[in-house]
Amino acid sequence: MSKYNKLPLTTLHSLLVNKEVSASQLVEDAISSMKEDPCFCFEVTCFEKARKQASKITEVKKEEFLKGIPFVCKDNFSHKGVKTTASSKILEDYVPLFDASVLQKLKKEGMILLAHTTMDELAMGGKGVSKNGITRNPYDLERIVGGSSSGSAASLALGMIPFALGSDTGDSIRLPASYTQTVGFKPTYGLISRYGLFPFAPSLDCVSYLTRNVLDASYMLSTLAFYDEKDFTCSHHKREKYQDYILQGRKKKRIGYLKEMLDNISSNTIREQFVSLLSVLEKRGYEIHSFSFGKELLENIYPCYMILSSAEALSNDATLDGIRFGPNRAKDARNYIEYMKKNRSIGFSSHIKKRFLLGSLSLDKNYRSTLFDYESKVRRLLVNRMEEFYQENDFLLMPSSFSAPEKIEDLNLNISSDRNFMNHLLTLANLGGYPSLTLPFMKEGNMPLGINITAPLYQDGYVFSLGQEIEDITKIKDCVVEVAR
């Protein structure tokens, strides 16, 4: 376990400012804990580059909040000069020629990148399955940590670093956060630049991240949310000092939950704890409302997400052909079509091929009207219903997950197997572009389980404010775990 990097960002910053620790010491502290990697968290490390950067930092001023602090990023952020593969064979040996805008910004702020973390291949999945193995949950090595930001969640939970960058397209930061007792935040779509983030489904993708507590998360949004002209989908909406929502006690008071969600929680413990939390929030002056979304509609979240994301992914990943980059496994190809076919056949796993086939079917003229066109309208219906919800409520509150993470021996990657609508409620935030935060809440047996707050567009600050209130109630924050030997 690291000595320093298990602490939150705010504490590390104070230590650096007061010269109680140096950037080089923080980097060595992180490296010593990362070298073991009991959960398979890392695709590639860049320790020497980090050491060089740290050695140049001799002083940290009070206003330089992130300077000298180590972090990791998911293996789908372009990192100039460092192999970046999105945990896929199709990008083996790919070395980006530029930095993603968020990495450039963090470097400018003095943060030190140590490694790229494991993820589901090309971010398509929620189980932490990559080309080289499965990332394990530090709370129980026989279980998954969730995905696709698996290594980011596991390494933060293990106390190796205080901040981990990832991405969230369906729940890929918020579900691993739930399973690891960490804070996972997906901002409003377009607040953070996606330039340099390998695209999966561009209408759903969000740069997202993990921290130890909600205050840290609010500070990070203040740094990462900036207008970037290189990302055409980047919002022009005014950016703020999001930590002020916590520090100045800015609040909104109407909390809603889905009636269908509460009616279908199978675990008595989870239901009781959730109802108890609502009761405490009510005593603290919040209005609590039940909202009937419509079970029929909720059951359509998953197919809507799968069809639209698969169609978008198929289009984006058409560029992965082994010509400009990627492995050359087709030296004996007779023509360029055969060349691309051989590279793509070897480069993509069968799970990815399945997703592409689904995407292709959904755009095929024989199926398009009943799949892609239909689900695009379902998306509108779901978002319309959310907007009706937000007429009466400022927040949607719910447990982030309703059972412990799957055991690795029972792992099922079938698209059709996950039919329980309760497992897909977090995706509402992606379909509508809403800000959404998962933070630690309780344990079911010995496994952590988070609580999730989702709010209307651009209400990110208020999400942090309610998150901090819940932290204050549960007293669960800054959690780290040591893997049992």
């Binding site: 209408s203 197919p303 007779r334 069968s350 199926y367 998306r379």
Partner: protein, 102 residues
């Protein structure tokens, strides 16, 4: 909705420029058909009359085009850095022009 068969999947795969292993295609076919059945079982077409598709989550915001300023592009040598076979400023590939199966 028409059930898909292995022939349909092979055609799609061919268009997507990858092969599917013989021992995987049946499993993929079953899984996709099960998923499509789920969609059919939960059909809500009756609620979609007059509903426009949603392709992008933030519709109300107007996008501004950036200024058309000339910037220094990536050099050819850097752009080709990740390619395996190259000659001077070109990527080398097997034949492009001609019959595919010749």
């Amino acid at each position: 909705m028409k059930k898909i068969d292995q022939k349909v999947l092979q055609e799609q795969a061919s268009r997507l420029l990858f092969d599917i292993d013989e021992n995987q295609i049946e499993e993929i076919c079953t899984d996709l058909n099960d998923f499509l059945s789920y969609i059919q079982e939960h059909d809500i077409s009756s609620h979609l009359e007059g509903i426009e598709p949603l392709f992008y989550p933030v519709e109300k915001e107007k996008r501004k085009l950036r200024e058309d300023k000339e910037k220094k592009p990536l050099s050819v040598s850097r752009a080709l850095k990740n390619s395996h076979t190259k000659e001077k400023d070109y990527i080398l590939l097997p034949r492009v022009v001609g019959e595919e199966d010749e």
